[in-house]
């Protein structure tokens, strides 16, 4: 019953006015819990900045790299955060094209998450390059040496993919926000009214505005859909184009895309549970929405589990000794704990979502989503670090790798950075789409007047 997806408990009626006011209310003072969360996010960010300053001063030697593991926690975090971003575009663009009614209550949060996750992800390659102050060398700009980037390198593809993804997801978020900021502008007072008067760009909901807006939004969704599939494919080719056993596989692109959406949906659940409580959005974001997110999680989780099986099967069935050795090392080598954390959290635990009582229990979903987040971080760790450490072509390599405080500190900082932006966003801009939630409600008609 998608039409009544946003209906609250029986007995109350959701009107347009109720929707506007319920969402505009989130823009007020959110209370102590919110500020405690924001303070912890900023504290984590401060830890990350401290570690980053040390890294800038003393160099990448602090990061625990040792031959042959030169891509480690920073690249793991990069892939993790890019992955988190993907479900936002899935919910906002792909489900928009599929006309899914239930997406309206959750897509703004998911989309904001996309933008902030890409902002976080984009920092890691820049931290990882070592001489961070030369990051602009990645950009093809005319220079006095007549040099250009090597467009055959997957790393340059990645830069273009991430840059495009960040730009497009940001404008997509802003486009969706404009009618909602205008709705908020017309019900709030004080400095917020002035802020929204500027940021709503003169939106009044005229027929001309809607005519161009709805068309444009449709095309943006149609452009964002292939983009989201391409971005994580390109990220996967950073690995798949190399000959490292465990990386060089054609399954990587779909495997990464499914994993990205999986981790992203889990992160959406992790974020929505506290947001819903803090901002009292229980009437708008219902158990029905969580159940649908859980189903998405289950679907993508099954694809990921299948990809794990296929990877191991292909390594065995292909018969290549190096490939076989790499996968044996992955499952039973010194990093067995990382691999089994990944398999248990990503492939086994989500099987609980087959059961409806678990899918409809918000606490259970919250716990599972956190385990999926952990599992997906380990998936990237296993693919990157364990494949490099177990590389059988490097006979004399010292294949130990231990992340250091610089790795953990900057990773913690990235969580602080992400949550800080996210929390600031949900307090200051409509975290649930006002106009789209109204779209799934029955329109007020003279026959059966709907009054507040």
């Amino acid at each position: 019953m998608p039409e009544t997806a946003t209906a609250p408990a029986r007995g109350t009626r959701v009107t347009y006015d109720f929707v506007t006011r319920a969402i505009a209310r989130t823009l007020g003072n959110p209370g102590k819990g919110y500020f405690a969360l924001l303070a912890s996010a900023v504290a984590l960010l401060a830890v990350g900045i401290g570690c980053l300053l040390m890294l800038l001063r003393y160099g990448l030697g602090l990061a625990g790299y040792s031959h042959p593991v030169y891509w480690a926690v920073y690249i793991t975090c990069f892939v993790f955060w890019v992955g988190i971003a993907h479900s936002g575009t899935l919910i906002s663009a792909i489900l928009f094209l599929f006309r899914s009614g239930w997406r309206t209550a959750v897509y703004r949060t998911a989309e904001a998450m996309t933008v902030f996750a890409v902002m976080t992800a984009g920092l890691f390659p820049l931290i990882h390059i070592g001489r961070q102050w030369y990051f602009y060398w990645l950009i093809p700009y005319p220079n006095e040496r007549g040099l250009w980037p090597n467009f055959k390198s997957p790393l340059i593809w990645d830069e273009f993919a991430i840059g495009t993804y960040f730009t497009v997801s940001t404008v997509f978020l802003i486009m969706g926000l404009i009618p909602d900021i205008a709705a908020a502008r017309d019900v709030v007072s004080g400095w917020r009214k002035r802020l929204y008067a500027i940021t709503s760009l003169g939106w009044r909901g005229t027929n001309e505005q809607w005519r161009h807006y709805t068309r444009g939004y449709l095309y943006l969704a149609a452009l964002a859909t292939p983009l989201v599939l391409s971005v994580h494919s390109v990220v996967s080719w950073d690995f798949a184009m190399a000959i490292v056993p465990g990386w060089h596989a054609t399954i990587f692109a779909p495997y990464f895309v499914a994993g990205a959406i999986y981790s992203g949906v889990a992160m959406v659940i992790t974020l929505l549970v506290p947001i819903r409580k803090l901002f009292h959005l229980e009437e708008l974001i219902t158990v029905h929405h969580f159940e649908n997110l859980a189903k998405l999680c289950l679907l993508t989780g099954m694809i990921v589990a299948y990809a794990y099986c296929v990877e191991f099967f292909t390594a065995w069935f292909g018969g290549h000794p190096a490939e076989r050795a790499a996968f044996w090392y992955r499952a039973f080598g010194p990093f067995w704990w990382a691999s089994w954390t990944m398999i248990i959290c990503n492939a086994f635990l989500p099987q609980l979502l087959w059961f409806k009582p678990i899918r409809t229990s918000i606490l259970a979903l919250f716990v599972i989503s956190i385990f999926v987040n952990i599992g997906m971080w380990f998936e990237r760790f296993v693919i990157i670090v364990v494949s490099l450490a177990g590389e059988p072509y490097e006979r004399f390599a010292n294949a130990t790798y231990n992340p250091t405080w610089a790795d953990w500190g900057i990773m913690a900082g990235s969580f602080g950075w992400f949550f800080m932006w996210f929390l600031l966003f949900v307090k200051n801009f409509p975290a649930v789409s006002i106009s789209e939630v109204k779209e799934v409600l029955p329109a007020p008609t003279r026959g059966k007047a709907v009054h507040a």
Binding site: G202, Y213, L223
Partner: protein, 181 residues
């Protein structure tokens, strides 16, 4: 002498005289649109908190030209992607294993990303330009803050002499509130 601010002419044209009707119901709004079109009005403005197909059908406007912006932007992006990769490869050749300097398959990735980037940005510009041109054409029309919340609205520009007639029409179709601007 007071200089004229050119931005004022674009963003704040003088108020257009006319009648503003506030509607609480979608079907009443659609009726009013039909009656106005029968009465020969073409340049009225309809406000709604959400886009509704009923209003779109009643107005029967042509499809937004934004799609041309998207198409041209996308094609331009693809061309730019092809141009930068090929030009830059030949300008600084990196020859590896005797393979072609400009090789298309890896460049498809860049061309694809640039298609999306330029297409999306052109779409945004298309929406902004078209909405701005429409706003300039209509002038400063009356507005009510409830139109982004739960009311529909119609503004009909007309001379004060004909305002009474338009007011009667809007009231007759079920406007909750009618006022002259």
């Amino acid at each position: 002498m007071k200089l004229v601010n050119p931005l004022t002419a674009i963003f704040h044209p003088p108020p257009t005289p006319g009648v503003l009707g506030v509607f609480g119901h979608l079907d009443a709004t659609v009726d009013a649109i039909g009656k106005l079109r029968q009465g020969g009005h073409t340049d009225f403005t309809v406000y709604s908190p959400i886009p509704r197909h009923e209003i779109e059908d009643a107005l029967d406007q042509p499809v937004s030209p934004v799609r041309m912006f998207t198409l041209i932007g996308g094609i331009a992006g693809c061309a730019v992607g092809a141009w930068i990769t090929l030009y830059m490869s030949y300008d600084w050749p990196i020859v590896l294993g005797g393979k072609p300097v400009g090789s298309i398959p890896p460049y498809v990735v860049i061309m694809f990303e640039m298609t999306i980037l330029f297409g999306a940005l052109a779409t945004i510009l298309g929406i902004l330009f078209n909405a701005l041109f429409a706003a300039r054409r209509l002038g400063t029309v009356a507005y009510d803050a409830r139109f982004t919340n739960d009311k529909f609205g119609i503004f009909v520009p007309c001379e004060p002499a004909r305002a009474g007639q338009v007011e009667a029409l809007l009231r007759g179709t079920g406007a909750e509130e009618v006022r002259r601007a």
